[in-house]
């Protein structure tokens, strides 16, 4: 079959990009709601479960190669300084130290738009100054302390709102603040002028740290002319591109592998400086080199979710929302971009007049990195609180107000019809499950005299359509077993299992006969495992690959059985011919060692419809008005994500998103010492991620309606949706409980008590 080139537009985390997809033949007809599926849509435990529970799953951190050297990094103690002199002689004299790299001796290696790994001007506490390779990690750590550096300390600013101030030190030539996003529809000025009610408030969110349990890291081996890098990453091909750019070596000489990885949540999107440093040392020293960040390093130099300050003006007339203005400033640290918190304001509700602006603010802090629904968590926290504030002012139930603006089947941003939208149904289910009828505008008495009870909810909008290019192959072995190969990743979502389900279903084999090999650039390209796009990008491609393999298998079987291929089908691992079952292995063994290889590629998304995911979270909680503590009792999470390929794994995904959202809104906050620019809680003691004790009852519901316009499986993404509405729903419930609103996340006890005190 010849290859066709298709140009297409795709959405990734709210950004539209042009993609080129190579496709062959015709796409398969989508499995509809009535399709008779026996494996897809069923609860299957993960196919790689045994590796995970026995400790056999190999993570990058678990790789110990013979003769391997260990790297530790010297990081800047100053938020901004000129590195004037480095003397590594004391470090090099330490037995076991093999080499030291820094800006005066490191080979040129371009990285993210800069021409070197080690900056002349370090720009945050934790910026890389030098790297030591040694026989043992503890030796490298000791050597780092023996490197002498002369710094000239420069003026700096670390706080978002201080950096926005006119008098703040300018840390970029064009100023600290730049516009990064802009959207407008209708006539906002006129709508505000003629509105009956206007609410204007400022919301703030804190810097959230990913704290993936496996820190960022790489193990590099330079064997002959091939560089092999094992890395804990969400995108092996992104790491390959970063290595090629830095080292100027051909793709044929680079192989990147990620077998198992211990979480990323958006932060592991490509090569890091640690990757390049490991590769440089491996080439220089002719040994495998391991560079794995410590927990402290992870929390200063491996990304974060930007703190924001957001101003919303929202107006009502005749009990409807007529206009909204949403302005947002994000602390990008030393990042080169920012997410777009007003994204949900632009597209979630059908509001006629909308104006949003997003600004990037640079500071002398570590760079931001995508963090599960970047911008949308922060933006929804502000947007869905402003809706509740307006509803209270105009005397409407906040759910009723949302319903007025959530029913239209047309995307207000593009004017295109949604392929599918079940937001109203999400509201119905959520309201019933939480018992919304118990909610009172003034809140309720809690389970004790000093406790108040409240209900809150919020809506979720996200893309999740998936995108091309994504390619896969399905290998049918002579014994009837199957191997699926694609250069995608499993970041904890269950990629292997879901791909195996789709292949087993399409090919007609049992799930236990399917193995999935992923995370290797020697296989076909697959996109980054981020943006909720793995399932919706990969499952249609593997389904096509399975169909191609089946078609070839039937040609082989027809020849051997001396019947026409059209008289055959495959079911349960056997070829069925006129009621007679022959196991695949028995057929294929006749042709000795021939492996059937099926190829599949992701077709473009339809461009005449808007592909989105929707959802709603409902929260019931109590607040202790003496201590300010928030006790979340029940969360109902309802999501509209097209077909659910595996309800068991999907529910895990939602529970995880809810729990991370609880951390964001109740306990997680990076604390920075402003005079020194140091993160004072860059560890798992001072930085409070949720523990098992912080988990409320969580009810998970899916609409589970296949989106047959989206792709041939009818599935959309679920990675991000379950964290998006939770913080706003909790904030709304707190406000309902205590009658006063805390507009800053996290809603700590101190902030609750402060809000209560100010009211009195």
């Amino acid at each position: 079959m010849s290859i066709r080139v298709v140009k297409t537009q795709s959405e990734f985390e709210g950004e539209i990009s042009e993609e080129i997809a190579l496709v062959q033949g015709k796409d398969l007809k989508a499995w509809g709601a009535a399709a008779d599926l026996s494996i897809v849509g069923k609860r299957h435990p993960r196919i790689d479960g045994i590796a995970r529970v026995t400790g056999r799953a190999m993570y990058t951190q678990d790789l110990y190669l013979p003769g391997m050297l260990h790297v530790r990094l010297l990081r800047s103690p100053y938020p901004r300084a000129q590195v004037q002199r480095i003397d590594a002689s004391r470090a090099l004299a330490l037995p076991g130290v093999r080499a030291v790299l820094h800006r005066f001796n490191a080979p040129k290696a371009p990285f993210r738009g800069e021409d070197t790994i080690f900056r002349e001007e370090v720009r945050f506490v934790g910026d890389e100054v030098a790297a030591v390779a040694a026989d043992r990690e503890e030796t490298a750590a000791e050597a780092v302390r023996l490197i002498d550096v002369d710094y000239e300390v420069l003026p700096f600013v670390v706080d978002l709102e201080e950096a926005m101030d006119e008098g703040a030190p300018r840390i970029e030539a064009n100023g600290n603040v730049s516009e990064s996003g802009k959207y407008e529809r209708g006539d906002v000025t006129r709508a505000f002028a003629s509105a009956n009610t206007v609410v204007e408030q400022t919301y703030r969110t804190s810097t959230q740290l990913h704290n993936s349990l496996e820190t960022h890291g790489a193990v590099a081996t330079w064997d002959g002319d091939e560089l092999v890098v094992h890395e804990s990453t969400q995108h092996v091909f992104g790491v390959r591109a970063g290595l090629q750019n830095a080292l100027k070596i051909p793709f044929s000489s680079i192989r990147v592998i990620c077998d198992y990885m211990g979480g990323g949540f958006g932060s592991k999107g490509g090569a890091g400086k640690y990757t390049i440093i490991a590769a440089l040392f491996a080439r220089q020293l002719g040994a495998p080199v391991r560079c794995i960040l410590t927990r402290d390093e992870e929390n200063v130099a491996a990304g974060n979710r930007s703190a924001t300050v957001q101003k919303i003006r929202i107006a009502a007339a005749r009990k409807r929302i007529v206009a909204i203005e949403h302005l947002s400033w994000s602390n990008s640290g030393q990042g080169k971009w920012v997410a777009n918190p007003p994204g949900p304001t632009n597209g979630l509700y059908d509001i006629p007049n909308v104006r949003t602006r997003s600004y990037r603010v640079v500071t002398n802090m570590g760079f931001l990195a995508s963090f599960r629904a970047p911008g949308y968590v922060e933006g929804t926290f502000a947007l869905d609180q402003s809706i509740d504030e307006l509803a209270l002012r105009i005397g409407l139930d906040p759910l009723e107000l949302r319903r007025k603006h959530a029913g239209r089947m047309t995307d207000p941003q593009t004017g295109k019809r949604y392929s599918l939208k079940r937001l109203a149904q999400c509201y119905d289910i959520g309201a019933t499950e939480i018992g919304w009828q118990h909610r009172r505008p003034e809140g309720l008495r809690g389970s004790a005299p000093h406790r108040r009870r409240g209900y809150g909810m919020a809506s979720q909008l996200w893309g999740g359509s998936g995108l091309p290019p994504a390619y896969a192959t399905v290998h049918l072995n002579p014994d009837g077993t199957v191997v699926v190969r694609s250069g995608t990743q499993d970041i904890g979502t269950g990629t292997r299992t879901v791909l195996a389900q789709v292949v087993a279903e399409e090919l007609g084999v049992t799930l236990k006969d399917v193995r999935v090999e992923i995370g290797d650039t020697n296989d076909q390209y697959a996109p980054i495992s981020a943006g909720s796009l793995t399932v919706a990008s990969l499952t249609p491609a593997v389904r096509l690959a399975a169909a191609d393999a089946r078609s070839q298998l039937l040609d082989v079987a027809a020849g051997l059985l001396e019947v026409r291929a059209s008289e055959l089908r495959v079911q349960g691992g056997s070829v069925i011919s006129h009621g007679r079952r022959t196991p695949l292995g028995e057929i294929l063994k006749q042709v000795d060692n021939y492996t059937v290889v099926g190829k599949g590629s992701r077709f473009p998304n339809p461009e005449d419809v808007s592909l989105k995911t929707f959802g709603a979270h409902f929260v019931q909680l109590e607040v202790d008005v003496r201590t300010g503590e928030v006790f979340v009792e029940h969360v109902v999470a309802v999501h509209d994500i097209g077909r659910v390929v595996n309800p068991l794994l999907a529910a895990s995904q939602v529970e995880g998103g809810v729990i991370q959202g609880l951390g964001f809104v109740l306990s997680e906050e990076r604390v920075v010492d402003r005079p020194t620019g140091r993160v004072v809680n860059g560890n798992l003691e001072g930085y409070k991620v949720p523990t098992v004790r912080d988990v409320p009852k969580i009810t998970v519901r899916f609409i589970d309606d296949p989106d047959t316009k989206a792709n041939n499986v009818g599935a959309k993404g679920l990675g991000e949706p379950p964290i998006i509405p939770l913080p706003a729903a909790v904030a709304n419930a707190v406000a309902n409980a205590i009658g006063v609103r805390v507009r800053t996340a996290p809603i700590t006890r101190a902030r609750v008590l402060e809000a209560l005190a100010l009211r009195r």
Binding site: P45, V53, Y59, G262, R295, G492, G656, V692, I698
Partner: protein, 167 residues
């Protein structure tokens, strides 16, 4: 069983203990943790290094049946003791009931905290074959899971207990 000596070092020394039923002898400096010894010297990489300072529980192993943070335990302090890691739970190709339950209940996502969670649950079930949900939460309250698999971790431990009691 030999008691760990009160004073050792400063140089490396031989230490003997039992790991997953096998007697081993390692040559380690006094400051080397049990975690690093298991991972680097003995090739048992199931226990993970996440915080390396006793905050997260990903390195949990059993020492004489008690769950400990192996990043906070010195190898030399384990002389003569019985150490169990996640690699030793399955026997004759049969998964431990807790391992089986973690698979059936999908009690993990990325899996990085899983070995530690499992060891904490195994120790609990040995102590108390039919724990309450609250007991399970207490047992794993020192094991962080960033993916948020907590509800299923609790369900898995309760499920494993139920199956065992039935037998």
């Amino acid at each position: 069983m030999a008691k760990a000596p009160d004073f050792v070092g400063p140089g490396a020394l031989d230490v003997s203990f039992t790991v997953n039923g096998d007697g081993v002898r390692v040559h380690v400096p006094p400051h080397r943790t049990l975690l690093d010894t298991l991972r680097e010297t003995l090739g048992l990489t199931g226990a993970k290094r996440v915080c390396d300072e006793g905050n997260c529980g990903a390195c949990t192993v059993l020492v004489d049946g008690t769950p400990v943070y192996s990043c906070m335990t010195l190898a030399v302090a384990c002389a003569g003791q019985v150490i169990e890691t996640v690699e030793g739970l399955a026997s004759n190709g049969e998964l431990h009931p807790v391992q089986r339950a973690f698979i059936d209940h999908d009690a993990y996502q990325c899996g990085f905290c899983t070995p530690g969670q499992i060891m904490s649950c195994v120790a609990l079930l040995r102590r108390d074959p039919s724990p309450s949900a609250d007991d399970v939460m207490r047992a794993v309250s020192g094991n962080l899971c960033r993916c948020g698999a907590y509800p299923n971790i609790v369900n898995a431990a309760l499920g494993a207990a139920k199956k065992r009691t039935k037998r």
